[in-house]
Each structure stands twice: as C-alpha cells, then as structure tokens.
Symmetry: C2
C-alpha cells in the first residue's frame, strides 16, 4: 500500500476569491508582509498498486477524471511508500 | 521576497466528510484502489522578511492566529527563496 498526495492549485490568472479573503484577513491582523495569497487543495490517500509507476498512472487518471478541473487548475502528484 | 507554502490537514481521528465524498466518487468511477482519502488545504503566498527564519516565524504566527485550527488541524510550513 503506497501513499499518494495530490496538490491542486488554481492556474495563474484564475481569480482566487478565497485567497483574496485570506489576504485581507491576514492584513487586518497585522500581517501586511503576505501578498499574492492563493489557496489550493491537497488530497491524500492510500493506494493499492503493484509499483510506484502504476500508482502514479492511476492517480493521474483520477486527477483527469475527477479530482482536478484542467481548465482552471494545475495538479501535482507525489507517491511514497 | 520569499515564498511560503502552508499545508493544513485534518488531524487523525477527525472526521473528514469531504474526503469520504471523494472516496465514494472515486470508487463509483472504478478507482477502488484508493482508500482513507483525506482532503486538506494548501495556502501559498509571497512573504516579505529579512531572512528565512524570520519568514518562518511570521508564517507560524499566521497559522496560529488565523490559518489553522490547532484543535482539529495540523499544519506544516515550507519557505523557499
């Protein structure tokens, strides 16, 4: 059983209202040094596969078919033992 | 200007209905090999600080004061140039 970790972030240029809200809240608390705040998702799970390459292929397919919206989002996949 | 990346995940034992919903959807699409799915957040931003240690301290403070709920969530901070 391996572990998969998928990070999904909005593409550059896609408006990120959540990120903007966080940036405003940080600024209101005195953290003016934070700028260009963006919020993304991380999805972690255990994956049953014969090897790391197979696990990565399946995780890639999960991203394309369900987890990520390729029009607006980038994703990266990390597989670990 | 450095980059900060903060990963916020639910602590073990905290129910994760979003993760369960993703697991159900994956299973329905034929991805039965994924189990124990958990969803977290990743927050990325640029941070203005004199050095990496200072940036980390401020990011830590942001997590404690706003970004994470320490009762239910773990967080990890990565600072890069």
């Amino acid at each position: 059983m391996m572990k998969a970790k998928i990070e999904i972030t909005l593409k550059n240029g896609v408006l990120d209202p959540q990120g903007k809200a966080i940036e405003g809240a940080l600024s209101g608390l005195g953290f003016q040094e934070a700028s260009n705040v963006r919020q993304g998702k991380v999805i972690e799970f255990e994956i049953d596969a014969v090897d790391e390459a197979a696990a990565r292929d399946r995780a890639e397919e999960m991203c394309r078919k369900l987890l990520a919206n390729p029009v607006m989002e980038n994703y990266s996949i990390a597989i670990s033992a």
